[in-house]
């Protein structure tokens, strides 16, 4: 049975309306966070070109660094996590054709995460937690910031539980069926994240929360960074894999074709599950206190993730080509023009893929311990992050909402034209913005810095800095068009929307996958073994020898 077959039988069944409302609630928080992040973001871009808006933003935003922290937390942590926690359970329920195992758990998860977010928002908005979304100690934020974010992470574990229970129920009902691909991928994504988030949870529970509450006096920056990056690299896969799920299981159908290979898609996600975590030291190449050999090992493991990424690249592009040829496309390259570019959901996601190719190449550069010395902590890094999280993830999620929000609301998208304009502006604006930051990084400009007020701006930076503001302003306009369209779709659109979730069939379907792909324990065990090998000795040494003697500072 194909995912599409299951889905078509049940998508319009009224018993999934509750899942729809739950997803709508998560999306509301996510899109509001994106709005807050984009409004604070444009001020940073303009600041780099010497246009200082911060005096006008006080007392709401009290400094460049306050605004930067709000921007990072809202866009990189909240928008992504809430979107994913809403979208993947929705896809799971629809592709399995059954409700979530526990709707009560689903709503409890939403309120736990939203409660955590509101708790963290108090110090965040009050300038009591202007420590960036990486919150490296001994910068010391208000305890509510750490506790709130921890509750959000705990909420994601409940999503994992609900997805696992839902799949188990499906397997009881259909003992011989393969788990439909969207549900399989959703569970793999959350399983990966649940393992990876243990580092962050340990940092919060054993270090930052007791320290910020005053129960202990000291902390240790190195151990905190090791625990943070244990989660901090896989978290980008946690954001990225849901975009891949759309590219694999939905976009091929939206483009008029079929997924090229279901087994290869499963293989890539199982490899992400296994390989995503034991590689965090490539964020700490320049940290003292970790032997170079461990850094090299993590660097090599980072490159292994390139393999499932290449599998994804091939499978997704082959699926797009399948759709374009079905629509009359020909030639080696010319078929690309025959994709349904008029559909803003497809256009957004294909453009996101194009920029992600450059984000991926940049990522390989970051992971190379030799050239990492050139780019680490320079403007190159936000340039890279805006291609990956800021485009591959964000533009894809925007593209998903162009069908998902109308489906949840039961009304057509308010304006296709507006959506197309927003999508292309994001693409164009990001090319200018990201390219400028990459170049500035190569010229040695530090990231996360109020460059307009810095006494050391180099002559060669001057020509490029205005491009940051121009690109950022275009992105801002694109964002406003997006929000207007979403708002008007919800409140003003009158034309009914009656389409199903566009699940794609596969040319090579799930039955061709090895039976091992339907089992979880071997893959989870393999992931655990790799993590113990890559992290065990260093974590053990640090846990035993770290004196926790660094006092906290509030210097913002």
């Amino acid at each position: 049975m194909t995912p599409a077959g299951v889905a078509q039988a049940r998508t319009t069944a009224p018993d999934l309306a509750s899942e729809g409302r739950l997803t709508g609630a998560f999306l509301l928080v996510a899109i509001l966070a994106l709005f807050g992040g984009i409004v604070t973001g444009v001020a940073q871009a303009l600041e780099h070109a010497g246009i200082n808006l911060y005096p006008w933003m006080a007392p709401l935003i009290q400094s460049y660094y306050h605004g930067l922290t709000v921007h990072g937390v809202l866009n990189v942590l909240v928008w992504t996590t809430f979107f994913i926690a809403g979208f993947l359970p929705f896809l799971t329920a629809r592709s399995l054709g059954r409700p979530l195992a526990s709707r009560a758990l689903g709503w409890a998860t939403f309120w736990l995460m939203t409660g955590g977010l509101l708790l963290a928002a108090v110090p965040l908005l009050g300038n009591a937690a202007s420590v960036m979304f990486t919150f490296y100690p001994p910068l010391k934020a208000h305890w509510a910031f750490y506790v709130g974010l921890t509750l959000v992470v705990a909420g994601t574990w409940l999503v994992t539980l609900n997805l696992a229970l839902t799949r188990a129920a499906f397997k009881r009902e259909h003992p011989h069926a393969r788990t439909p691909l969207p549900a399989f991928m959703a569970l793999a994504t959350f399983a990966m994240w649940s393992i990876a988030s243990l580092g962050l949870a340990a940092e919060m529970l054993f270090m930052l929360i007791p320290w910020s509450l005053g129960w202990v006096t000291g902390t240790d920056p190195l151990l905190a960074r090791v625990l943070f990056w244990f989660s901090g690299h896989p978290i980008v896969y946690f954001w990225l894999l849901p975009a891949y799920i759309s590219w694999y299981t939905l976009v091929p159908r939206q483009a008029g074709g079929k997924l090229f290979s279901d087994p290869m898609a499963r293989a890539s996600f199982l490899l992400f599950l296994v390989l995503s975590t034991p590689l965090g030291f490539h964020h700490q190449y320049t940290d003292p206190g970790i032997h170079q050999g461990w850094k090299m090992l993590h660097g090599f493991l980072t490159f292994t993730v390139f393999f499932p990424s290449l599998l994804t690249f091939f499978n997704v592009v082959a699926s797009l080509e399948n759709g374009a040829r079905a629509r009359g496309g020909t030639g080696w390259v010319a078929w690309f023009g025959r994709l349904p570019w008029g559909d803003p959901s497809v256009a957004a996601q294909v453009l996101a893929m194009i920029l992600f190719a450059f984000g991926g190449i940049g990522g390989l550069i970051n992971a190379s311990l030799s050239v990492n010395l050139v780019v680490h902590n320079t403007a190159w890094i936000p340039g890279h992050l805006h291609l990956t999280v800021g485009t591959a993830v964000t533009l894809t999620f925007m593209g998903i909402t162009y069908w998902l929000v109308p489906m949840l609301r039961g009304r057509q998208l308010w304006s296709v034209r507006l959506a197309q304009a927003s999508v292309w502006l994001w693409f164009g604006g990001m090319i200018i913005f990201s390219n400028a930051l990459h170049r500035l990084g190569l010229m040695g400009m530090p990231r996360r810095t109020m460059i307009g007020a810095a006494p050391y701006v180099q002559p060669e930076w001057q020509a490029v800095l205005p491009l940051v503001a121009i690109g950022g302003s275009i992105l801002f306009v694109s964002g406003l068009l997006y929000f207007a369209n979403m708002l008007l779709t919800v409140v003003a659109s009158r034309v009914p929307y009656e389409a199903d979730v566009p699940f794609a069939e596969a040319l090579s379907s799930a039955e061709h996958a090895p039976a091992l792909f339907e089992r979880w324990r071997p893959w989870l065990a393999l992931a655990a073994v790799l993590i113990v090998l890559a992290y065990g000795p260093v974590l053990l040494r640090l846990a035993v020898t770290t004196p926790f003697d660094a006092p906290g500072f509030r210097v913002w």
Binding site: F260, T286, G289, N372, H376, T378, R448, D549, V555
Partner: protein, 162 residues
């Protein structure tokens, strides 16, 4: 359910190069990492972050000549400055930066000399660079360290006289 695995020729034709490409890149990486003498900061000792000003060599920050043409800078980072923040060496010098932080996390970035190292409270960091061209090499703090992070900088001045 069919137990056999059908791998299409297309899949295989892609999977094999997809393995070969990362392996090739890893080989290139290993050559540059091991062969080209690139060193990352490693384990160079701990220090009590509350006692930096009393702990040698950071009780006397500054430049020390350790051999002809070889210098060592004992440097502390604190909000929002480096000490010393101006370093003069003759052209062709090899300079090792031995540095730590007195308060929050800082960073030391000297773009023109390929120095890029984090300065963590509690850890002693070492990074070595050769200064082959005369002129000014700006050095920046490249980790957010509070409200005046953007004024934390200094320079290495490489002079032409021997």
């Amino acid at each position: 359910m069919r137990r056999s695995t059908t791998v299409y020729l297309y899949e295989l034709a892609w999977i094999l190069p997809s393995i070969a490409i990362p392996v090739g890149m890893l080989a290139a990486l290993a050559v540059t990492a091991l062969g080209a003498g690139i060193h990352l900061p490693g384990r160079d000792g701990r220090i009590d972050p509350t006692q930096v000003a009393q702990t040698p060599p950071f009780d006397e920050p500054g430049l020390v000549q350790v051999a002809p043409g070889r210098f060592e800078v004992r440097m502390t980072a604190q909000v929002w400055s480096f000490a010393p923040n101006e370093i003069r060496v003759p052209v062709g010098s090899t300079v090792t930066f031995v540095a730590t932080s007195k308060d929050v996390v800082h960073g030391l970035l000297i773009p023109k000399a390929n120095v890029n190292v984090m300065l963590l409270p509690g850890q002693i960091a070492r990074a070595t660079a050769r200064f082959d061209r005369p002129g000014e090499y700006p050095m920046f703090c490249h980790e957010y360290c509070g409200i005046a992070h953007h004024v934390m900088w200094g320079k290495v001045i490489v002079e032409t006289y021997p």
